[in-house]
């Protein structure tokens, strides 16, 4: 019987070889792809249970990991005094999911980033559990506070709005506030029932507190878009800051019966006024005519030079593109496809209506480019990446996004116009004693009728930068809803101006 027993031995050997080959395949060959499977909660839990690096603003942590005595070992804590204020930027950490910087810098914070390889190796050799690296933000704590509290105090408890402040020379984001906000600590709770109840409540809230309005909400920019229209006109040599520009009590663009008016601002009524007056009083009739004069292609090119229709923010996920329409859809019945904007539509886009839409970050970038002699810097939020021991591993180098969004000459002329707007025009609420400020209001109509005609309250905008020479900060304020304010009270200058002023002061005081 020995011959078949030997055959059985060989058969058994093949059984075992098959098992060994297969387990090698699972644990060695396929290991990587299984570990990267997003459904693999095991990997997520392991990284969740690790001591995560801090997120810092200046020297102060805005997110830190606290050892706790439960199965996840570390609880993510957002210091309560800044939790809501910084929430749109920090995001929150949950098992298997993160938002904001927690998400975009997850590899650094968990310590899995290749930049932290050496630290990890040293930790391993010392027998210590590996710690994640720290992320230092570009935010200015005082500016962020001014922005968030400004929104909260101005808009009232039911308001919705956002503020973005940028350092024009570098693109560093100094403030990024969104209101209403949320307490990330509630979402990061290890009590999953509590965390999910908190999420459900926030998600169901129609004011959308989880939304980072600074980069996710785009609205009609209204009169703040006149900066772009003016830039296009000056760049094209059509008009200059000292020139007379066409105006009028009303303007009927070619090919339409719809008239554009000035909402009762009499300064705009003469047929010709100075460019400065037109900017000071935000004359719709002037900018609609300028838009028609430069034409849709040129206006689009100018908007795109400022960052419309593109992605630029790398440090947070979910930045929506601001829109200058690339065409108008032709109905299927008339053959389909798209066509270029008509002059009537172009006139509307020139004053930030029609289908032009911008995020607060976008309007801050337009302002910052003008403040920076026409050079648009890519906005960023991560200043530095550090080891857990605060040794700097990488400092972000400012990056030019568009060297010549406008020429330095054009930027200078625009600055001159905007300075006048603060000195004697609609943007006067942003004036700061002893500092030259440039600014522009925007009050974008929602629907067809004005407040006085029982229409919906408008979107209020305000953009500004200071000092006008060698600017240190450019701000955009966007007010989406302020139901606690009377409809007629909602205007860029009146509500947005003081917030922008507070943010600029916070930056300049340092």
């Amino acid at each position: 019987m020995n011959k078949p027993i030997r055959a059985v031995s060989i058969f058994c050997m093949f059984l075992f070889l098959a098992l060994m080959a297969n387990v090698t395949y699972v644990q060695f060959v396929k290991s990587g792809s299984y570990n990267e499977d997003p459904r693999n909660a095991r990997v997520a839990e392991a990284s969740y249970s690790r001591e995560r690096g801090q997120i810092l603003v200046g020297d102060a942590p805005v997110a830190t990991s606290k050892p706790v005595d439960d199965r996840y070992k570390y609880l993510r804590v957002y210091p309560p005094e800044g939790a809501r204020m910084f929430a749109p930027v920090t995001g929150y950490l949950q098992l298997g999911s993160q938002t904001g910087i927690e998400r975009s810098q997850n590899a650094v914070l968990t310590g899995e980033d290749p930049q932290l390889f050496v630290t990890r190796l040293v930790d391993l050799l010392k027998g210590e559990t590996a710690q994640g690296g720290n992320v230092v933000l570009t935010l200015d704590a005082a500016a962020q506070k001014a922005a968030f509290e400004g929104l909260r105090d101005t808009l009232g408890p039911r308001g919705e709005g956002s503020v973005v402040a940028i350092e024009p020379k570098t693109g560093r984001v100094l403030a990024m506030a969104s209101y209403p906000s949320y307490d990330p600590n509630e979402l990061a709770s290890h009590d999953s029932a509590k965390a999910s109840a908190a999420y459900q409540a926030l998600d169901a809230d129609e004011r959308e507190p989880l939304l980072n309005r600074a980069i996710r909400t785009r609205l009609f920019p209204g009169s703040t878009f006149k900066l772009v229209t003016a830039a296009a006109a000056i760049e094209d040599d059509k008009f200059h800051a000292g020139d007379q520009v066409p105006a009028g009590a009303s303007y009927q663009p070619p090919g339409t019966t719809h008239e554009i008016g000035n909402d009762g601002r009499g300064q705009c009524s003469p047929a010709k006024i100075s460019f400065s007056t037109a900017m000071e009083w935000s004359c719709n009739t002037t900018f609609a005519q300028l838009a028609v004069e430069v034409g849709p292609e040129r206006l689009r090119a100018q908007a795109e030079a400022f960052g419309f229709n593109s992605d630029y923010l790398r440090d947070l996920q979910g930045q929506v593109q601001s829109v200058y329409p690339t065409g108008v859809d032709i109905p299927e019945s008339e053959g389909g496809g798209t066509r270029e904007l008509s002059l009537a539509e172009t006139a509307q886009t020139g004053i930030g209506q029609n289908t032009v839409q911008a995020t607060p970050l976008q309007m801050a970038m337009v302002t910052a480019a003008i403040a920076n002699q026409g050079t648009l810097m890519r906005p960023y939020l991560v200043e530095k990446v550090q080891t857990a021991g605060f040794n700097v591993l990488r400092t972000t180098e400012p990056e030019v996004f568009n060297e010549h969004a406008v020429s330095a000459q054009t930027a200078g002329e625009l600055t001159q116009l905007l300075e006048a707007t603060v000195e004697k025009g609609t943007a006067s609420p942003a004036a700061i004693d002893g500092v030259k400020v440039a600014g522009k209001t925007g009050t974008a109509q929602r629907g067809d009728s004005l407040c006085s005609a029982g229409g919906k309250p408008p979107y209020a905008w305000f953009v500004s930068f200071a000092p006008t020479q060698d600017a240190e900060v450019a701000v955009a304020v966007m007010i989406e809803e302020a139901p606690d304010r009377a409809c007629g009270e909602i205007a860029g200058g009146q509500l947005g101006g003081p917030i922008a002023k507070a943010v600029m002061e916070a930056v300049l005081k340092k």
Binding site: P4, I5, L19
Partner: protein, 462 residues
């Protein structure tokens, strides 16, 4: 003649000292792993390490002393290998206990104690394995009764869809585990008597010797029993195990590969029909083909096990550093996933090598055994062991569709552990008989096979 007498003059060494040394290594594995679990999970050596280690040592020493006294020529490798596996299994169950807040490890230690007691009892009560041949039909009947028991209403319990348990008061018990041992004895006893009839008659069809139609009776009956288990108890693993075991033993007894062809065809025919007809078989196969299709539902267990293996990688996360509790039933069928996760591919390979070693030593005992019954029993037990490891490890690592079987010596489960210790005792007895110097040598015997046959008759008949 000179060579023959030289061959006969060869006497196996007892090698009990080697066994003792290997047992010390096995204890280092078992107790070391237990201490490492405490260090990894709680950061300190478990408080009961001395008591635990002492008890484990006592059990191992008792087993060793029993072998030394009643089976001095037994194979020196088997006992240390299973002691190491059992010790590792205990440590990993303890690890899962700490994660799930259960107390299975101490229960398992109790079962191990019973297992070692039965191991010693078997060695003492069974001075010669050929005594088992007397129980050929008794054990066959007992096996069938045991297999039918779970289907008796009120006695059988269905756990996870398989009706393979019976509960007696607080104890539940898997009769299939005992049945596999009884079936090996039955097959060996039957085949050693009838092998000539099965082997000699038949006709040749295209290079394959096919057996005679009427000799197909037993194989067909076994096929029916296997399929019956599959259909009535929904237990794919046992079905495959019993049928494979029978085929291997039939092949070894008759030395005719034709049986394998017939058996394999029957098996695949039956399996295909089962796949077509029964939902649970289909669902197992579907999970195997694509566990990720329903990763949170049907495929959850397998997917979690695969993630665990992958997470362990080459070296493992370290004891206490993984999340084996994510895999449902990680302490029983899926214990290898816990080992793979926390100790890595390295440890899984080591465990597979240990299993391979058990099979190899069992087959070696079969090769050198001097009687047909011993050869068949040893081969059968080796085949049971190899098939069981293949089915369960293959299932857990997605080599073949998943079927419910315990991982010998590692998994939590009393019936399986106790029966496996008895199996090892019988293997040691067979190897002891095989390696022992012949008591009375007939110097003019010419054919070693003749001697083997004679020895069967030496058995004291009462």
């Amino acid at each position: 003649m000179a060579t023959n007498s030289a061959l006969m003059g060869f006497v196996h060494r007892r090698r009990r000292g080697a066994e003792l040394f290997l047992l010390v290594l096995a204890l280092v594995v078992g107790i070391g792993a237990y201490a490492a679990v405490g260090l990894g999970v709680d950061g300190e050596v478990p408080a009961n390490l001395i008591g635990y280690g002492g008890w484990l040592t006592l059990l191992v020493v008792a087993a060793h002393v029993a072998v030394r006294v009643v089976a001095p020529y037994a194979d020196p490798v088997l006992l240390p290998v299973v002691a190491a596996l059992n010790g590792l299994g205990l440590a990993v169950i303890h690890r899962v206990d700490l994660a799930k807040d259960t107390g299975l490890a101490s229960q398992q230690l109790t079962w191990m104690t019973l297992g070692v007691a039965l191991f010693v009892g078997t060695l003492v009560a069974l001075p010669d394995h050929r005594l088992l041949a007397r129980f050929t039909y008794t054990s066959g009947l007992a096996a069938i009764v045991l297999l039918v028991l779970p289907m008796v209403p009120g006695l059988g319990t269905s756990i996870n869809g398989a009706k393979i348990w019976i509960s007696l008061g607080p104890f539940s018990f898997q009769p299939g585990e005992v049945a596999k041992l009884l079936l090996v004895i039955t097959f060996a006893g039957y085949l050693v008597v009838h092998r000539d009839a099965l082997a000699l008659a038949g006709r040749r069809v295209v290079f394959v010797d096919l057996p005679r139609g009427r000799d197909l009776g037993p194989i067909l009956m076994m096929w029916v029993v296997s399929l019956g288990i599959l259909v009535l108890q929904r237990d794919l693993g046992s079905s495959l195990l019993f049928f494979g075991l029978f085929l291997v033993m039939l092949y070894v007894a008759t030395e005719r590969p034709g049986w394998l062809v017939v058996g394999a065809l029957l098996f695949f025919g039956g399996a295909t029909a089962a796949y077509r007809l029964f939902g649970h078989v289909q669902s197992r196969v579907d999970i195997w083909l694509d566990p990720f299709a329903d990763a949170d539902g049907k495929g959850y267990q397998l997917v979690q096990a695969l993630y665990g293996f992958a997470w362990g990688g080459l070296m493992g996360r370290g004891l206490g550093e993984g999340m084996p509790e994510r895999v449902p039933y990680v302490e029983s069928d899926f214990i290898l996933a816990a080992i793979g996760e926390e100790l890595g591919l390295t440890a899984v390979m080591a465990v597979l090598l240990l299993y391979g070693l058990v099979v190899e030593r069992a087959l070696r005992a079969a090769l050198i055994s001097r009687d047909g019954f011993g050869k068949l029993v040893a081969t059968g037990l080796a085949a049971v062991f190899a098939l069981q490891v293949f089915v369960v490890v293959g299932g857990v690592t997605r080599l073949i569709p998943l079927t419910g079987l315990t991982t010998p010596f590692l998994s939590y489960g009393g019936s399986s552990l106790v029966v496996n210790w008895v199996i090892i005792a019988i293997l040691l007895r067979i190897s002891d008989q095989a390696r022992r110097p012949l008591p009375d040598l007939t110097p003019d015997a010419e054919d070693p096979d003749e001697q083997a046959t004679q020895l069967v008759k030496v058995v004291p008949q009462r």
